[in-house]
Amino acid sequence: EPEVTQTPSHQVTQMGQEVILRCVPISNHLYFYWYRQILGQKVEFLVSFYNNEISEKSEIFDDQFSVERPDGSNFTLKIRSTKLEDSAMYFCASSKEVRTGELFFGEGSRLTVL
């Protein structure tokens, strides 16, 4: 069964460092998303991406964040200068459709900022 894959599964970084989280969405999906979940808190929307551009982003997704689809398969989330409060589980998701489509989530990348 096709699945969304994410790397790395866990990354530890120093505050102020740049981090890139990678995702390979399901191959025939067109819509891509990043969500995050701070430990003990709810899952929060970060950004959605369609047709090689951001379609919506939340207030969390400030100038420190960027997304890119550098080739036909990868979808990346970059955090330019990490802060302690960026420590969270970051989930990539993809869907085939928007209105009734099911979101398929990856297993997540745990980011720990020291």
Binding site: V4, K42, F105
Partner: protein, 113 residues
């Protein structure tokens, strides 16, 4: 800000018992999804309810969407240890489809054998 409150936050019951989890909001959603999340994994979609008053059954799980499309419930009959997990409701806004899911606060369910 659209909020989805789930209750209870934690629930621990004996195997074989029935339970209901609630998801409430003051906002109207075009549809509502229920996910289950295992530790260290991403959420997995269980069901989507679209029409106000809709009831969907998935084996021992029954999902209901409120008439006003502001609330939903998940009822589990004869709970089993395999039902243990974090259950999340997520609201879908009408204008943007499922681009921006608003997740609920979650209900952590533990079924004791």
């Amino acid at each position: 800000t659209q909020l989805l409150e789930q209750s209870p936050q934690f629930l621990s019951i004996q195997e074989g018992e029935n339970l209901t989890v609630y998801c409430n909001s003051s906002s109207v959603f075009s549809s509502l999804q229920w996910y289950r999340q295992e530790p260290g994994e991403g959420p997995v979609l269980l069901v989507t309810v679209v029409t106000g008053g809709e009831v969907k059954k998935l084996k021992r799980l029954t999902f209901q969407f409120g008439d006003a499309r502001k609330d939903s419930s998940l009822h589990i009959t004869a709970a089993q240890p395999g039902d243990t997990g974090l259950y999340l409701c997520a609201g879908v806004r009408s204008n943007f489809g499922n681009e921006k899911l608003t997740f609920g606060t979650g209900t952590r369910l533990t079924i004791i054998p």
